[in-house]
């Protein structure tokens, strides 16, 4: 099993996300995360999918997704040639005694405290997945009340692999 990150450019039609996620579920492909958002050109949506499987499955995923009528383009984002970012919000139980230690962990990771309540803090962190995993594991001594991750969004570095949209 290995993981691959795919970058998709799709027509922004109604139901496009369900067509893509439906393909994954009916063919039994594993999807680790999927993020979607409109591009600078509102006719298109950019989707980043993290999928896992063996080589053959990953090849099939790329081909089957490419085959969907609404999909303009699918590319693998290789780790060495790409930037991945994920955002996480973590609500941690924090008393007067523990608050400072949480804040100092957050500082090390350049995370932001975005909400402070009498018994909790919400910490916001952006980074690649390993940074976020490391941050979460450092919070282990504290009680994580709620956690929301966006899944990763990614882009390739440089301009070599940009897909240009014709008018």
């Amino acid at each position: 099993m290995q993981k691959k990150v795919f970058q998709l450019l799709v027509d922004n039609t109604s139901g496009v996300l369900s067509r893509i996620s439906g393909l994954f579920s009916r063919r039994g492909y594993n999807i680790e995360s999927i993020t979607a958002g409109v591009t600078a050109d509102p006719r298109f949506t950019r989707i980043t999918i993290v999928a896992s499987g063996d080589d053959e499955i990953l090849e099939q995923i790329e081909k089957q997704v490419a085959k969907l009528v609404d999909v303009r383009d699918i590319k693998e984002l290789k780790p060495s040639e790409s930037v991945y970012r994920e955002l996480v919000l973590i609500k941690v139980r924090a008393s007067a005694d523990t608050r400072q230690s949480i804040i100092s962990i957050a500082d090390i990771f350049r995370a932001k405290i975005v909400d402070v309540a009498p018994e909790s803090l919400i910490v916001e962190l952006t980074g690649d997945q390993s940074k976020i995993d490391a941050f979460i594991s450092l919070l282990e001594g504290h009680e994580i009340l709620e956690l929301a991750r966006t899944g990763i969004a990614g882009l390739g570095r440089g301009i070599e692999n940009v897909t240009y949209i014709e008018a």
């Binding site: 109604s14 139901g15 369900s18 053959e56 099939q60 081909k63 085959k67 303009r72």
Partner: protein, 537 residues
């Protein structure tokens, strides 16, 4: 002009001649407007068969067949027909009426989320929410259905959109699809590679699938095979690519195919797989077609290449274009020894049957029937033992062999034959089914009668769901469960009820005169052949 009128204009612009369907309130504006058109409407007796009949049209004309049904149960009934077409890459346009667009999602009477329900069985689907979208959507739908890897496209149209006034109707001359661009032309480098390997090969073979027929490449493939003396086998969907008795043709492969065809494919050193999915029934052990040989896999759908067997030379593109390119290449190769070997296999490995003389032998009957059929006749096989006998013993001359291969949908033959006969009224069209599959579609006898579509029907009757009985015979040691067809109607009386001439063949004694009588006139007829209930394929 309202939306419904616009839909009819779109169908006319696409050259649609016939629409199969079943009305209901939600599709009534469409059926009201179609009266002003020359498009023929055929009232099928259940919606599933509307899609099968459209499939029959598509496979004769090479253009998408069209069906139109109502919302809710009308739409859900058509799904099996759509899935059948999808599995065999048959181009269809399925129009479904839908409840008022304001009410969508509120579970009103006869509302079904049909675009959601068919998602995994269509190439694409549309739910039209603006009447002015109709021309563009239809133009795209026909284009998508009949290009690249063909398939069904569903268009769901709420009743208020059908009734809405359209500002101005203009059917687009070309499609503008930013995201859909199928590869047609084969990569020149890959083509050269294939030719190079062919020159090195000692035992080349072509395995032709249904994609060859869908791209209308049979003539190019045949010429290539003849010019270079390369033998050909086919999958079930590829039957008809070569005439059965062509010297270069070595039968159907697969677990229900000819032993000599499988042996030929497995022993080859260069296998050119074209327009075939390498699915389990055709190639049960993909290892056998990759180990120790060069596998060239040609398909218009890149996702099929490498899905079930890793190809040495993948070649994406339309079979017709690729074989035209092959024909332009010089090939020096001599495969005479190989051909002699295969001819020997073919003459010595034919399965020996020991027919029971008290009954009609389906194998001998089907061969005799097909010899007597018109050269360009259309033979439509259903699903079950009858299908396997048809594949094994039907002799294709210059005609066509239609069947539901991928999905194996029982009841396909009669409606598909009906569609084929509507599309080709001057050709002989024969549906061959079992007594199980016949009863799944016998309501269409009324359609044939009402619309004067003279399809001929043969029922191989054994009072069993024979294919399942055979499976239970082998797998469960004759522990038969729910396969006895007792209670079936007397077909002679049934034919009389529909006012269709009837013949019965009890054994092989009168086979010649019975087939002659059956084929004599271009009229509907029902021929019942009594076969041994214990016969095995």
């Amino acid at each position: 002009m309202n939306g419904a009128d616009a839909i009819i204009k779109c169908l006319e612009a696409e050259g649609v001649e016939t629409v199969f369907g079943y009305p209901g309130v939600a599709i009534c504006p469409f059926y009201n407007s179609i009266l002003e058109s020359d498009i023929r409407t055929i009232l099928i007796r259940t919606e599933q068969n509307a899609a099968h009949a459209a499939s029959g049209v598509a496979r004769i004309t090479g253009k998408p067949g069209v069906c139109a049904v109502t919302s809710g149960p009308g739409a859900t009934n058509v799904i099996t027909g759509i899935a059948t077409a999808f599995a065999d890459s048959i181009p269809l346009i399925c129009i479904t009426g839908q409840v008022n667009s304001e009410l969508l999602g509120s579970d009103v009477f006869q509302e079904a989320d049909i675009t959601g329900a068919v998602e995994s069985f269509v190439k694409y689907s549309y739910l039209i929410k603006d009447v002015n979208e109709i021309p563009r959507v239809f133009k795209e739908a026909f284009y998508i259905a009949n290009t690249g890897r063909k398939g069904p496209v569903l268009i769901d149209i709420p009743i208020d959109i059908q009734n809405a006034t359209i500002n101005k109707f203009k059917y687009p001359e070309e499609v503008k699809l930013r995201t859909y661009k199928p590869t047609v032309k084969g990569n020149a480098v890959q083509i050269k590679k294939v030719i190079k390997e062919l020159e090195k090969a000692k035992r080349p073979i072509i395995c032709a699938g249904g994609g060859v027929l869908l791209s209308d490449a049979q003539e190019e493939l045949r010429r290539f095979s003849e010019e270079h003396q390369i033998p050909v086998v086919s999958t079930m969907m590829g039957i008809g690519v070569m005439p059965t008795r062509h010297p270069m043709y070595f039968g159907m492969v697969g677990n229900n195919g000819k032993a000599y065809a499988n042996r030929a494919m497995n022993e080859s050193d260069l296998l050119i797989m074209v327009g075939a999915r390498v699915a389990d029934r055709a190639v049960s052990q993909p290892d056998l077609i990759t180990k120790g040989k060069i596998l060239v896999h040609i398909d218009v759908d890149p996702a099929e290449i490498g899905k079930n067997a890793g190809a040495t030379i993948p070649l994406v593109g339309d079979a017709k274009h690729i074989f035209q390119d092959f024909l332009n290449e010089e090939v020096t190769g001599n495969y005479e020894d190989w051909l002699n070997t295969l001819c020997e296999y073919r003459s010595t490995m034919e399965k020996k049957r020991t027919p029971n003389p008290d009954y009609v032998d389906p194998a001998a009957f089907i061969t005799r029937l097909s010899e007597k059929m018109q050269d360009d006749g259309v033979y439509v096989a259903d699903v079950g033992q009858n299908q396997i006998w048809s594949c094994g013993y039907h002799i294709v001359k210059e005609g066509q062999f239609l069947t539901s291969g991928g999905m194996g949908t029982m009841g396909y033959s009669i409606p598909a034959a009906l569609g084929a006969k509507v599309a080709a009224p001057h050709r002989q069209v024969i549906a061959v089914c079992g007594d199980g599959s016949f009863q799944m579609s016998m309501m269409e006898l009324a359609t044939m009668k009402q619309h004067n579509v003279p399809v001929k029907i043969i029922v191989l009757k054994n009072n069993y769901l024979g294919m399942v009985r055979q499976y239970q015979h082998f797998t469960y040691k004759d522990h038969y469960s729910v396969v006895d067809l007792s209670g079936s109607p007397d077909l002679e009386k049934l034919a009389a009820a529909y006012d269709i001439p009837f013949l019965r063949l009890m054994n092989m004694e009168k086979v010649e005169e019975t087939i002659d009588a059956f084929l004599q006139k271009d009229e509907s007829m029902l021929l019942e052949c009594i076969i041994d209930p214990m016969d095995l394929v």
